[in-house]
């Protein structure tokens, strides 16, 4: 335990010593504060702590519309852009050097000559890397939590789902980064390969989704008629892509789970479809969007298969780490 804390403490010092950590933390706080600056009054939405207004009956203080909009800004935009994109990239850049630097000649020896198993060391270092994202997300979420209380008047505990989910997503990516780092000892290569893999995971998810709809939406009038052999071929292709999808860490789909997990005081998600319907203008479009928002995969499947792959990657990286000569 003492050893674990020592290594964790050391990782924390490493992060603290990086200016990027502080820059990220500041931007994180800033983004959360901008969120906090949006509010509602008797006439509609206010921005910049009340400096400017937009009148809207739907969005007056205390209305369900206000809660929906405010929750949605968080779960869709802040999560999508800041938490699951910017924070992750900055995390990869900040944590990239953890393993390669540790493995430098003359540096590894001090630690490896200690009575600690290589596997334990590997795992502790890995957990240390997750600290970056954990701290960033924690700070961010706490401000969001306070903002919702202030603006909407409820303590929305469901926003804290962002911590485990963002951490899980980061751990998929970090495991790849650690593996490449252990294999090549290069910070740059490990960052680039990880981002490439992230991109590929996105492509696979997109392909799976597109092909699913292509193969399954029979009643869609716009679809070309296919003869059975052609359809069979498509099915085969789809099965292949589906398999690829299964063995890929599902970065975007795991992030998207936050949309389901963050709920409003009525226990429902903040859905764009709901918002459009509430506006009363285009309820068909609202329904269509709501339908598209319903995920086809369960949370267990998405996280389970992704963590399974992550575990395999980590096992391989740890095995390499525990056997290599320093």
């Amino acid at each position: 335990m003492n050893v674990f804390l020592a290594i964790l403490g050391e990782s924390l010092r490493l992060l603290r010593a990086r200016w990027l950590f502080w820059v990220t933390l500041c931007i994180s706080a800033l983004v959360a504060l901008i969120y906090l600056s949006v509010g509602f009054d008797e006439q509609g939405v206010t921005f910049a702590f009340g400096a400017s207004h937009i009148k809207s009956e739907l969005l007056v203080k205390g209305s369900p519309g206000a809660e929906l909009l405010y929750t949605m800004i968080f779960s869709k935009y802040l999560v999508g852009i800041w938490l699951t994109l910017a924070t992750l990239i900055l995390g990869l850049i900040s944590c990239g050097p953890i393993f390669p630097e540790f493995m430098l000649e003359g540096s590894a020896g001090v630690t490896l000559s200690k009575p600690i198993s290589r596997w334990a060391l590997f795992i502790y270092k890995f957990v240390g890397g997750l600290l970056f994202v954990a701290i960033q997300t924690l700070l961010f979420t706490v401000i969001i939590f306070i903002a919702i209380r202030w603006r909407i008047g409820i303590w929305n505990y469901s926003v804290f789902w962002s911590i485990p989910i963002v951490l899980t997503v980061f751990s998929y990516l970090f495991s790849v980064q650690v593996l490449i780092g252990v294999l090549t000892r290069s910070v740059m290569v490990s960052i680039l390969v990880t981002i490439l893999l992230w991109f590929m995971s996105w492509i696979v998810t997109l392909s799976e989704d597109t092909m699913y709809h292509f193969v399954h939406d029979k009643d869609n009038g716009s679809q070309l008629a296919m003869d059975p052999s052609q359809e069979n071929q498509w099915q085969k292709w789809y099965q292949m892509v589906k398999f690829m999808h299964m063995i890929t860490p599902k970065v975007s789909q795991t992030s998207a789970l936050l949309n389901q997990k963050v709920v409003m005081s009525n226990g429902r998600n903040s859905s764009l479809g709901d918002y459009i319907k509430m506006n009363g203008k285009n309820s068909e479009l609202g329904d269509a969007i709501k339908e598209a928002e319903v995920p086809r995969f369960s949370m267990e499947y998405i996280i389970g298969t992704s963590l399974g792959i992550e575990l395999l990657i980590l096992a391989f990286a740890g095995w390499k780490f525990s056997r290599r000569d320093f």
Binding site: V3, E10, L14, G109, S113
Partner: protein, 306 residues
Amino acid sequence: MSDAAVEIEYLRKRYGRFEALGGVSLTVPKGSVFGLLGPNGAGKSTLVKSLLTIIRPTECRGTLLGAPIGDRKTLRRVGYLPEQARFPEYLTGRQVISYSGQLTGVSNSEIKSRMDGLLSLVGMQGWADKAVSTYSKGMRQRIGLAQAMINTPDLIFLDEPTDGVDPEGRIDIRRMIDTMKAAGQTVFVNSHLLSEVEQVADYVAILARGQVIRSAPMSELTRGGQRYVIRSSGPVPPFVREKLEQNGIKVAGDTVTLETDNVSTVQPVIDALRTANVLIREIREEKPSLEDIFLEAVKGQGREAA
């Protein structure tokens, strides 16, 4: 229990197809300062790292502090200063030392109580709270030594401890090694510098191309190969020279060399020279330095390998 701190029966290490250590055996007596001497690339670091589980030896039999080599728990009682040691630049010297202590299982209170003593031993009290990034090479080595000693180890490995350190620092490091020895700790020093080993070690092993060429107490190593050299003013006359050479004594120009450690066998030669009216300029006793032994050993090795 044996009274060896390290007993290597057989140690072999290959990096791919390259054999860095080819079946080495070595004994390090408890309480000694043991110098492992060898040119760069001889395999000294490889040997030490094998003992410390930093690399995985291809084949290894032997014990370290009584436990089989490779047993991690024993490493609690071991200290290590790596070659070209690097510590995280963002840590302070004090943090480096306590981190090392924590990883070795030393309690925080013990670390605290030992810290000041160690810092003053290595002469770093004034710098302990500054970041490693502000240190000179010599200061890094000092902190490196302190972190190797935080667990008051029974056995300390120092890999090229004086490399890149200024002369004053070298003297200090030598003094620290003496302190460790006085405290009953066994010190294992790797070096490619004879002068370093010569001044501190009780036992020396010479390693070249992955083989231990010689291994003996310092006193024994330098005892063999003693000789006397007589120099005359002008070349030794041919008839005297012939007579001496018949008795197996080497003569070259004005120099007569007797391979012996017995001074009485020198007297008849002096008589013979004086009888022939040769003027004697100098008589001196020569002991081989470690350097001679080292060069001789490495040279022999080279010939074998060629």
